[in-house]
Structure formats: C-alpha cells, structure tokens
C-alpha cells in the first residue's frame, strides 16, 4: 500500500460565519491521483489553499509525512515540497514562459540571495525549467512572453511552474478549466505520467478527466467530507449524483 504523505485532521476554515471547511479529515497517498469534486462553493479551493499554506487554518492540523506543518508560514509549504497551481491563472505575465519556470526552479536550487551572480549563468535552473516546459508541451513557447500566449497555454504554463519547483505533492486547482480539448488531453496524459512519481490532489469539474485519472475520489459538500471512494463507486453513488453529478450525461 502506498504511504500517506499529506493529511488533514479536523481541518476547519471559517470565513466569518461561513464554514468553508468544516472538520475535514482526509488523507493523500504517495503516487496516487486523488481528486476532489463537489458543487461550487463546497470549499475545494479553500481546502487546497489551506493545504498549501496560503490561508491559515482556523483550527485543525495538517500533517506532512506524519509531522504537523500547520504552523508553517505560507512560503515554507512550497519549500517542503507542496506545490500548487491556481484556479485563476496566476503567472508572471511580463516574463517569458521559460523565465516563469526559472523563477520557480530557482527557489529549489537556491542562490536567490546572490546579488552578483548573473541569473542566466545558472545552467541547472534553466535545465529544470526547460524540462518542465517540455513536460506540459510548451517547449515551442519558451521565449514568448506569457501575456502573448493564449489562455489555454497559460493554463499549461501554470502547471509547468509547479513542476519546476520539484514538488512531492501537487495540488492542482482546475488545471483543465478553459483548456481546449487537445490541451486537456496533453494535461491528462501528463498527469497520468506524473502520478507515477507524485502525490497529486486534483480539483476539477471536467468529469471525463476526473474519471479517467483518479485513483481515489473525494466528494465535498458545504465544507464537509461526503465520501471518499474509487471512481466506480462514486459514479454510482446516488448521494453523489444528487449533490453533484446529476442523473445522467450533460444533456437535458
């Protein structure tokens, strides 16, 4: 059995009176793709944001390799190896795609406080960055400024940046949103490959992709854990169909 890498115990996140996460318990295992689905506003993004340290948890514990990391600062999560992509594209628009990935890679490699070493001199960083671009299929766009690539390509870049931080856990928030069919396919095959090495947490509304990729699925509703199970069980679970999927295919 794969070992649990990241887990949340009684995790809560309140926005004023709103319980975006309510006593959530969940475990993520190594070399597995674990997807989280649920209606809009269920708290999926909030969960990812809390797991990666962007929001401080209201209460509860986050365990990473068994040790609590809840108290860490936002930027320290990434250093531990928890990388995340954003639901709303969040990249450095004025930099080239390659440079975007270099920024991500440099954090890992270090030397960021070196005032005098020319940034382009660091081969290792550039290599990691190129590799990440290549993985998501953006090699051709390496030297294009990020604003100038299309929306779908920006989504790909978003993932490449996470990869460039050499994470152990990948938290992906709707990576496929806004992507065309072909791009989605690229990402799907990429994720298939990545889940051999990483622990991946995927939030996504594209059910085809989710069903195809997931080893485990969790359904969340109103900040609460509804069910965690395999794809097939979930698909046929009447509760889930009620709360999230609806009865049949996307026709009326």
């Amino acid at each position: 059995m794969n070992q649990t890498i990241l887990e949340a115990e009684n995790l809560c996140k309140f926005w004023g009176g709103l319980k975006a996460l309510n006593e959530l318990n969940i475990q993520f295992k190594d070399k597995q793709l674990h997807s989280i689905v649920g209606p809009n506003g269920a708290g999926k993004s909030t969960l990812l944001n809390t797991l990666c340290g962007a929001y401080p948890a209201t209460s509860g514990v986050i365990l990473y390799h068994g040790k609590p990391i809840t108290h860490l600062k936002g930027y320290e999560f990434c250093r531990e190896g928890i990388g995340r992509s954003f639901q709303k594209t969040n990249i450095f628009h004025n930099a080239t795609c390659l440079e975007n990935c270099c920024i991500a890679a440099q954090q890992r490699i270090g030397g960021s406080f070196n005032l005098f070493r020319k940034r382009s001199k660091n081969r290792q960083i550039t290599e990691i960055a190129r590799k990440a671009l290549q993985q998501v299929g953006l090699t051709a766009r390496a030297d294009t400024r990020a604003t100038e690539v299309s929306y779908g390509e920006q989504r790909q870049l978003e993932i490449a940046m996470v990869l460039a931080t050499s994470p152990k856990v990948l938290l992906l928030d709707e990576p496929m949103a806004g992507m065309g069919h072909e791009e989605s396919q690229t990402i799907i095959s990429l994720l298939k490959e990545l889940k051999q090495q990483y622990c991946i947490v995927l939030v996504e509304h594209d059910m085809d992709a989710v069903f195809e990729l997931s080893d485990l699925m969790t359904v969340m509703v109103d900040g609460q854990h509804l069910i965690t199970d395999t794809v097939d069980n979930i698909r046929n679970n009447p509760l889930v169909q009620d709360a999230y999927l609806g009865n049949d295919d996307e026709v009326f």
Binding site: Y75, I103, A104, L115, S120
Partner: protein, 321 residues
C-alpha cells in the same frame, strides 16, 4: 556579456560618462558649473536609488528623502567638529548606520503595501523631519554645518582633495558610475530575478516558496543606504545639512524625476535628474513664473511619453528590455 538591457541605454551610458569625464576640461575654472554638475550627479544617485526601489521592487515610498537627510546628518553628527576624518571610513559608517536604520524602518513599513506603504514611509519621514527640526542640539530648522571636509587618503595615499570642486566632481561621477553598475548587476542577478517576480505577482512568488519579505527588505536596505550616501555627498559638497533635506517635497520631486526619466530603467534616473534640474535652472532664469512653464512641460511629457524618456529612447533604439 553586457549589463545593458537596450542599445539606447548602452549608447546613453557611454556618451554620458565620456562627456562627464571631459567636461571639467571645458569648464576650466568655472566652479559654479562644476558644482552644479556635481549637485545634479548627487541627485541622480539619490533618484536612482529611488528608481530602483519604486520601479524595480514596486515599493513606492514618499519618505526616501529621510535617508537622504540622514546620510548628511549621520556624518555631520558623527564626525568630530574640527578634525578632518577619512572619507572612506565615514562612507562606510554612513552606509552601515543608515543601512541599519533602513533595516529597522523596513521591518515596520514593509508590513504594509501600496498606498499604505506610501503613507507610512511619509509618516516616518515627517517624524524624522520634525525630530531634527525641533531639536536644539542638531540645529533645529536652521540645520548644522560641516566645518572641515574629510580627507580621502587610502593607505596614506591621497588623490582627491574634496575642497577642490573638480576633484569633488570626479568623486561624484565615479560614485554615480559605481551606483549604476551596482544596480545593473543586481538587476541581472538571481536576486534580481526574484525581485522582478515579486514585483509583478507577489502572491505567486510566495506560492513558489519565496519569503518575499526578506527580498523586499534587502532591496529596501540597499536602496536606502545609497540614498544616504547621496545625502552624505550633499553634506560634503555644501558643508551644510538641514532638515528640509528630509521634507516630503524632496521625496516627491525625486519621484517626479524618476518618473520623467522612466521608472525602473535606472539609467532613466540620470536622465530624469538632469532634465528636471536643467529645465528648472533654465526656465527659472527666464521668468519669475517658472512654475507655470515647468508644470506645462511636465504635463506635456506625461501625456506624450508612456514610460518616461528612457522608454522613449528604448523605443527609438528599437529593442525592448
């Protein structure tokens, strides 16, 4: 490999320093012009440090003159009244102490951002202003005098006589050059990469694992101590410091110069300072209502140039940074 980010920048810098080197030969004896150039060069250093902070780091301050003034005051207060101290040693002291102050100030002001940071820097600068303006021992609003200028020997060898305007001019020019190279080098460094990133999208930089506070703090300290260095040179040039060096309109004027030059371009700071001061000097001699024409000119420039004069030159040169 070149440190320049555009052809125009390269041409400008070569031309500027070439002319700068030889200009005293043509001004033989006219100490006023030499002095005037030194003053503007000192100002350029100050504006450059601000330009880096605002344009590169994205940290906008209206209290930068605080360090300009502190640079002067630190020296004036520290140096014994009737004894020539060593210039280099005191350069070190001034930058070290102002750097330390900047560290403390930075720890406070960098907790805020945007307009709030503008205001809190302004508040601290005004408080420092009033501290010196109300103080009895530091000369109050009338300021302090520097009675004896430092000597500049290194290991007993002395090349520069600070009482000599031309020598002082070269010291300023050299300082500006070093300052320019320094900023260009850190801009192109690994550190500069992070700075660029966190200016554009700080949230993403955090998500990538950077403690952006540390980077901002370093940038703030560097920029502030260079501003202090400029203030130190000012004090040396005129032998005089005054709280008005710290007043907010000096910060604002410097910001205007940086903007005119083209924010974030570093070499634009030189252009901005020379242009503003040049125009000011020229128009002031034409009319008592110089402010009117200065205002019209500034407005015309904002409306026609998008990224200041440096941006205009870069566009002419046809290469983007």
């Amino acid at each position: 490999m070149s440190i320049f980010s555009s052809k125009s920048e390269k041409i400008f810098i070569y031309l500027f320093f070439a002319i700068g080197l030889f200009i005293p030969l043509f001004l033989e004896g006219n100490t006023f012009y030499i002095n005037k150039f030194s003053t503007i060069i000192i100002l350029s250093i100050f504006v450059m440090s601000l330009d880096y902070l605002v344009g590169r780091t994205g940290l906008i301050t209206l209290g930068h003159a605080m360090f300009y003034g502190l640079g002067g005051y630190i020296f004036t207060i520290l140096a014994p009244e009737y004894e020539a101290v060593n210039f280099w040693v005191y350069t070190f002291y001034v930058m070290l102490i102002s750097g330390f102050i900047a560290l403390i100030v930075g720890l406070i002001v960098l907790r805020t951002s945007g307009i709030y940071m503008i205001m809190i820097t302004l508040a601290l600068a005004q408080m420092t202003f009033y501290f010196f303006a109300d103080s009895v021992e530091y000369g109050g609003l009338d300021g302090l005098f520097v009675y004896i200028k430092p000597e500049t020997s290194i290991f007993g060898l002395s090349f520069l006589d600070l009482d000599n305007e031309t020598h002082f001019y070269y010291l300023c020019l050299l300082s500006l050059f070093n300052c320019f190279v320094f900023f260009k080098v850190i801009m192109n460094s690994s550190f500069g990469r992070v700075i660029d990133a966190l200016k554009e999208n700080p949230d993403r930089a955090i998500a990538l694992g950077y403690n952006i506070f540390h980077f901002r703090l370093i940038a703030y300290v560097l920029s502030s101590s260079l501003a202090a260095y400029a203030g130190y040179l000012f004090a040396l040039q005129f032998g005089f410091v005054n709280p008005s060096m710290m007043s907010w309109d000096i910060s604002a004027t410097a910001l205007v110069m940086a903007l005119l030059g083209g924010l974030g371009s570093v070499f634009g700071a030189i252009i901005g300072s020379f242009m503003y001061e040049g125009l000011h000097y020229y128009i002031e001699h034409l009319t008592e209502y110089w402010m009117f024409f200065m205002g019209v000119l500034i407005i015309a420039l904002v409306l026609t140039l998008k990224h200041g004069i440096a941006g205009f030159l870069n566009a002419l040169g046809g290469k983007r940074s």
